[in-house]
């Protein structure tokens, strides 16, 4: 299949890389059952985002640089979106939307936008930091051990700031896993 001459090349490229990211994100979401509590699904999604970068650091960098789709959420249910969002970003938004809905939070498009972008920033900082950024020389086991507590911290913040119910979270001591 050749490139479609009727569609701008940059758009096709962006769509192609986005599909690659979505494939990885879906694989990670599938590791947690559909009826699992929302924080678990959201955490698996965040691991998946980091896995995109670990699987192909150069491709991940290109993915971030060519992305031009909107990150603005115009409605909570995403029924009247004026701007097209990338599929992988839509997955972030849908995880956050599910958490807000399941936790009894307000269905506000602004809160959905703000929290989706902030959680994306956290996932992105980890993903980029450990592959191409300042954390890339950390020992592999340290990188792996840091991911869980940092992602937990960020998702628990979403629950605290919006006053959501904490189903799916456990209050645990912060200890480095053995080994």
């Amino acid at each position: 299949m050749m490139l479609n001459p009727d569609i701008p090349e940059s758009m096709q490229l962006e769509h192609y890389i986005d599909s690659w990211a979505v494939e990885i994100l879906r694989k990670y979401r599938e590791t947690v059952s559909d009826d699992a509590p929302k924080p678990q699904r959201a955490k698996a999604h965040a691991f998946g985002y980091v896995a995109c970068a670990l699987s192909d650091p150069m491709g991940f960098e290109a993915y971030i640089e060519v992305a031009s789709s909107s990150v603005v959420t115009t409605s909570f249910e995403n029924v009247d979106s004026y701007f097209e969002q990338g599929q992988s970003f839509q997955l972030w938004v849908s995880e956050v939307r599910d958490c807000i809905r399941a936790g009894g939070g307000p269905p506000s498009p602004w809160l959905l936008f703000e929290n989706s972008v902030i959680l994306w920033c956290m996932g992105h900082g980890l993903a980029h930091g450990i592959t191409k950024g300042p954390l890339r020389f950390f020992p592999e086991d340290l990188k792996r051990d840091l991911l869980g507590p940092i992602i937990d911290m960020s998702f628990s913040s979403l629950y605290r700031r919006l006053g959501l119910s904490f189903d799916g979270f456990e209050d645990r001591p912060v200890l480095r896993p053995p080994g």
Binding site: Q12, K27, Y28, V71, H128, P134, L135, D152, S154, S157
Partner: protein, 273 residues
């Protein structure tokens, strides 16, 4: 007359030194930067080998000088937070770092390429931003155990770095300055709410799967797709020393990457509809 000539020579040397450091900053994010020689870096910006050698003995000396320059500039632009509370201090840090990076994307790229962080959360960390975060945690939670301090330090750093990277080179760069500032404030609040009282209690909310290893296991059990074959990746080339990537500045490298992606796109992808 002699004094004037000596002064001119000294000025000229300073200018060459400055150009060389700027060249290193521009080339730092390129793959295989660590393999570049002093001549490679000098020639990329039209400086002769002789002029370069008057300033630096080799590439390592130039890279160290560039690191010092980047660290000093960061320290000048990001002050230690003055807010009396933890929340205010974190917000100040996020805003200052983001503003500094957004004002010069090339500087930001060089900074994360050349100033790697050490795996500790102490104030002598070679990455000045991690060192600042560690100092903030030291000030407000001096007795926190090591692992707790480490997870909180790198959590603050990861959120700040992710936000700054997306605002500088990613999709968030299209947002207005006021929207970016608003998000920076919200990010500060988010970090503080996430850390909550964990620095005092040593406990935090967690969701299963607790760790990355539980989800991915040792050696990749999930077969993850790659964008393009590993053999085409510059860092995987068996002939790295002869790779043309070595001498290309960032823009040319991106064009080359674009061509590879285009080739892979044309051969593997079908546009829906």
């Amino acid at each position: 007359m002699v004094i004037t000539m000596a002064k001119q020579a000294e000025d000229r040397l300073c200018r060459v030194r400055e150009h060389l450091i700027n060249s290193a900053i521009a080339l730092a994010p390129t793959p295989n930067f660590s393999e570049l020689t002093l001549d490679d870096i000098a020639h990329a910006y039209g400086i002769t080998s002789a002029e370069a050698r008057n300033c630096f003995a080799n590439a390592d000396e130039l890279v160290n000088a560039t690191r010092d320059y980047l660290s000093a500039t960061l320290r000048q632009n990001i002050d230690f937070p003055t807010a009396p509370d933890f929340a205010g201090a974190v917000k100040e840090l996020v805003m200052d770092y983001a503003k500094c990076a957004r004002s010069n994307p090339q500087f930001f790229r060089a900074m994360y390429s050349l100033l790697p962080a050490a795996p500790n959360s102490t104030s002598d960390n070679p990455n000045p931003v991690v060192a600042l975060v560690a100092r903030v945690i030291d000030r407000f939670a001096p007795d926190a155990p090591d692992w707790l301090r480490m997870t909180r330090t790198f959590a603050i750093f990861a959120c700040t770095h992710g936000y700054t990277h997306l605002c500088t080179v990613g999709s968030l760069r299209h947002l207005s300055t006021s929207a970016k500032d608003f998000l920076a404030i919200a990010l500060g609040q988010h970090i503080v709410a996430g850390i909550h009282d964990s620095l005092d209690t040593g406990r935090s909310l967690s969701a299963v799967p607790y760790e990355f290893v539980e989800l991915v296991g040792p050696a990749p059990p999930l077969c993850l797709p790659r964008i393009f074959p590993a053999a085409l990746m510059p860092s995987a080339s068996p002939h790295c020393s002869a790779a043309p990537w070595k001498l290309l500045p960032t823009k040319a490298r991106r064009l080359s990457l674009w061509k590879r992606l285009r080739h892979d796109l044309a051969s593997n992808y079908t546009m829906p509809g």
